[in-house]
Amino acid sequence: MKSLFEHGPSLRTRLLLALIVAGTLMFLDHRLQTMQPVRSFLSTATAPVQYLAVLPEQIMDRLVYLATTRSALREDNQRLHEELLATQMAVQRLNFLENENARLRKLLGSEVRQASRRMAAEVVAVATDPFSHQVVINKGYANGVYEGQPVLDNRGIVGQVMSVARTTARVLLISDQSHAISLRAERSDIRVIAQGTGDLNRLELSFIPHSTELAVGDVLVSSGLGGVFPEGYPVAQISAIDRDERTQYAQVDVTPFAQLDRVRTLLLLWPADAAESPVYDEEVTDVD
């Protein structure tokens, strides 16, 4: 039972102690960046919380799946078959072009591009801190995920892996304020840098002169410079250009192709020159 009189250090001393501990950790993490192993360990330890958090959703999905009728499934199946057929035809053409490209590159004496390896990952949690745009995926270093790895969805580049735990990894989205990505305009080959703004549907191009050739609607693909993102993946489309002469540079807004606000399934990419290689789980015949 609690006694009427306090003993031990006073409340203020304890407050001070707690603040000193937290402040030291903050300093170690932010200024000296020495906490990465600790972070990785603690992320592994807290991974069950993240898996627990998506459990209700998964159960719901399962129930919805169990409740779907036979005819709905058949319709779905039909539609998917058609889609598969269309995609296969597109891939056929792509394979042909890829081979031709490799041949031509050989003729020119330049390096043939290697195929990259990939793995699908599910988003298990969205960091609810509105100041940074991150998602947590269900693959970690046990699967060969590494820091700085490019992450895509079916439309374009989503972001890069910023920290890895055993079975989870944290992905920094391209819309985060601290993220910038080097791009190339598909039409005019102008190289630009797209900086995240903290808004999921808008990136900004920095240092664009007023006389730029860029136009609204231009598609920007990754340039492959900087070594993180492989070349040639679609990233964003220019949505607005404000050539206000009073400012030093033109203000160019772009909209990312990837739907950053509703990412569910992502694609991890291992470029051909990556030191790590993917470790696939045993093939599970997953129905949903």
Partner: protein, 160 residues
């Protein structure tokens, strides 16, 4: 003897709060998500201040940092700072009516969010947006109900 009564129930409530904090919500509700960890923590600070102190606050703050992916210590500092007035005045706050309590909780969570924002602003150049403060309102509105549920929980599992 080492395990005090209701320790597991206490830990369970923390885990539940953390799970609710990272649980995916529909986009419409997302900005209104109550500040679960702060609410649960504040309840325990008010109800059993001799058991739940700065140590617990610090550990929960650091776990929040890990789950949120923020710099280590940001949430810990904010939670420790709002825990202080509660630990200092818990006897007074306990005797407030629900409305007054909800108001106090709202103010505390407002202060916590401002501290987190300021730290993030200094460390990572965060930009302020108003929806970040919506949870202040939803948390304050939720408080009386959470208080009743938590009181039942506390009595049921004899956490004292």
């Amino acid at each position: 003897m080492w395990i005090k009564s209701g320790l597991f129930a206490l830990l369970l409530s923390y885990v539940l709060a953390l799970v609710l904090m990272v649980m995916p919500l529909p986009t419409v509700l997302e900005p209104w998500r109550p500040d679960w960890v702060s609410l649960v923590l504040l309840y325990w600070l008010l109800a059993v201040p001799h058991r739940v102190g700065f140590g617990t606050v610090l550990v929960l703050g650091l776990l929040t940092d890990i789950l949120m992916g923020s710099t280590f210590g940001v949430y810990a500092v904010a939670l420790v700072l709002i825990a202080y007035p509660v630990l200092r005045h818990f006897q007074r706050i306990r005797h407030y009516s629900f409305m007054q309590q909800a108001l106090v909780i709202g103010i505390l969570i407002f202060v916590k969010r401002i501290i987190v924002y300021e730290l993030e602003h200094v460390l990572n150049d965060a930009v302020f947006n108003l929806p970040y403060l919506y949870p202040v309102l939803s948390s304050a509105v939720l408080w009386p109900w959470l208080f009743l549920v938590m009181r039942r929980f506390r009595r049921r599992y004899a956490i004292r």
